[in-house]
């Protein structure tokens, strides 16, 4: 599907605004790592589990599914090979380090699939792509799943680029000085620029990170609810193991093994189904290249301001009217860029850390990141969206906000490269 992105300003209202809805979602069991033995909990296993739960949540039959979409950006950071494969269908990487549409089609015996996209980007843009695919008529009832893979070994240490004596290609200008790929370094650098400009410090992230854990513990399926069910204290945070000073381990989301699935369909069909439809009002993406080696605070600030303009333009909704706001928190150091760039609850540049120090609990007037995000639930990247859906349905349980919950905004990953989706309990006029 070419040109599905909404990554430029000036594109106007989204042509499918309110005409596509999410009608089901499912979350697999979440664990820290795959043990390499239990195939039910492999990438293919968690994918199947989440898809079947989503289908059941939507109250539809397997034969109604005519579209499949997934991403191979599972952050496995390594292949299963050279370890031996298993009996079919686990006899290739497919099902172990990613899980293609073809794998699911075959495993679930889906008979009526007419559209398969197995190379969608990571979840932020992918959910926008899924909404666009249904709006464009590629499929009427599409299931979109996003597996995260964490195999044995210290995370990132098995990445071939990090283990090589050579820094190849574009890495020649970063690796020789210790820059590692992924969002950690550049965003920590931008955070340092932020602290210098606004005279604040790493310590100011503590209330935010603690609240993320709290919201994660209010989420029954989360990694922390299941495996480490205790609240993070300020002491814990401030004394956290330093990874790259000032970044501590609690600023980094925990890589996990899990999958979430979402069912998208047309607004007409959604109205006949069991769940209260959650309509899509717009999707928008950023793909901004910084000018030099490291993107800067100025570049990230402008990137999110532009994203906010694109989101308002395509949805026809003023960000002031967004009730539920779930921007990415894969590192605690960049979430404030989203908060300030969208100016959610009027938070302006340099004001995020004061906002964090205020009441951001789900019970309060500013329920920021009611999902708990990645920091609170584990690195699923999907909780941002499943919480948005639950809040709008009114089924978020102990996380249900006390403020109005009619419009939600969620997305990932970083300020310069991300995709966001706006959800609404109303179709819009």
């Amino acid at each position: 599907m070419a040109n599905w992105q909404r990554d430029k300003e000036g594109m106007g209202l989204w042509e499918h605004r309110g005409k596509v809805a999410v009608v089901g979602w499912g979350q697999s069991y979440i664990q820290r790592r795959w043990d390499g033995v239990d195939l039910e909990r492999s990438c293919g296993g968690t994918s199947k589990e989440s898809i079947l739960k989503a289908i059941s949540d939507a109250g539809i039959g397997l034969d109604e599914i005519d579209g499949l979409m997934t991403s191979k950006e599972t952050r496995a950071e390594q292949t299963w090979a050279p370890r031996p494969y298993f009996a079919p269908p686990y006899d290739t990487e497919d099902g172990l380090t990613y899980c293609s549409g073809e794998f699911i089609q075959k495993e679930l015996g889906l008979k009526n699939v007419k559209y398969i996209e197995s190379d969608a980007p990571y979840i932020g843009p992918m959910l926008g792509m899924a909404a666009q695919a249904v709006g464009d008529g590629m499929a009427e009832t599409l299931v979109c799943w996003y597996p995260m893979v964490n195999l044995s070994g210290r995370y990132g240490h098995n990445n071939p680029a990090n283990n090589s004596n050579e820094a190849k290609g574009g890495n020649a200008f970063t690796l020789p000085w210790g820059y590692q790929s992924g969002a950690m370094f550049n965003n920590a650098i931008v955070f340092q620029q932020y602290c210098q400009r606004y005279n604040t410090s790493h310590e100011a992230l503590a209330p935010f990170v603690m609240n993320q854990r709290r919201n994660g513990l209010l989420t029954p399926w989360s990694y922390y609810s299941l495996h480490e069910p205790y609240q993070l204290t300020k002491e814990d945070y401030l004394n956290g193991r330093v990874v790259e000073e000032p970044l501590v381990v609690y600023d980094c989301d925990r890589p996990v093994m899990a999958c979430a699935a979402f069912i998208f369909t047309t607004a007409e069909k959604a109205k006949k189904l069991r769940q209260k439809p959650v309509y899509i009002l717009n999707h928008a993406q950023n793909s901004v290249r910084g000018r030099s080696t490291m993107a800067t605070l100025d570049e990230h600030q402008e990137a999110v301001s532009s994203l906010a303009r694109k989101m308002e333009e395509g949805s026809g909704v003023n960000i002031k009217d967004v009730d539920i706001f779930n921007p990415y928190d894969g590192y605690a150091t960049f979430t404030q860029q989203f908060l300030e760039g969208f100016q959610w609850h009027g938070v302006g540049r340099g004001e995020a850390h004061d906002f964090y120090a205020d009441d951001i609990r789900v019970e309060g007037p500013h329920p920021f990141l009611s999902s708990g995000g990645n920091l609170g639930t584990g690195r699923t990247r999907s909780a941002l969206h499943s919480d948005s859906i639950e809040q709008l349905r009114g089924t978020a349980g102990p996380r249900q906000v006390n403020v109005k919950a009619e419009i939600a905004l969620a997305g990932s990953n970083t300020p310069d490269a991300c995709g966001f989706v706006m959800y609404s309990s109303h179709q819009g006029s």
Partner: protein, 144 residues
């Protein structure tokens, strides 16, 4: 021996079109690319200009090699094999005086980890250590 205790830098193996940068480094010169039509300096090197659609190949020009420290981190738990023996080690962002929109990475040899004078002036030097082999690697040190 290495420029910073325990450091085994991964050796740069650049794309062909980025080779002039590394050839210049071997002559202890710092060069950046320059796009004629938009009069823009470019670093790190790119295959073509992002700002315009010129088909002219990007030129190279020598710069003075003076800069300032913008911000820094201290690497304490690197995922990169060659850095684990050098931890803790500085990771600083250097802006180029001739064009502060360009930034370079540095481990600031000679500056103890965590004792980085933010805002200080720096100058380019070249890491000639054994690990880097025949490829010299630009580095930066605090002046004065």
């Amino acid at each position: 021996m290495s420029m910073i205790d325990g450091l085994e830098r991964p050796v740069p193996v650049p794309f062909d079109w980025a080779k002039p940068f590394w050839d210049a480094a071997n002559e202890k010169k710092l060069v950046v690319q320059h796009c004629g039509p938009c009069d823009l300096n470019i670093y790190p090197p790119k295959e073509k200009c992002n700002e315009c659609d010129t088909t002219e190949p990007l030129g190279w020009k020598e710069v003075e090699g003076k800069g300032h420290i913008d911000v820094y981190l201290v690497i304490k738990d690197s995922r990169i094999k060659g850095f684990r023996g050098a931890q803790p080690i500085n990771f600083a962002i250097i802006t180029l005086d001739e064009d502060p929109g360009l930034n370079f990475l540095s481990n600031l040899p000679g500056t103890p980890a965590g004792e980085v004078p933010v805002g200080a002036a720096v100058e380019v030097i070249f890491d000639e250590s054994v690990e880097v082999g025949r490829q010299l690697v630009p580095e930066w040190r605090v002046i004065g």
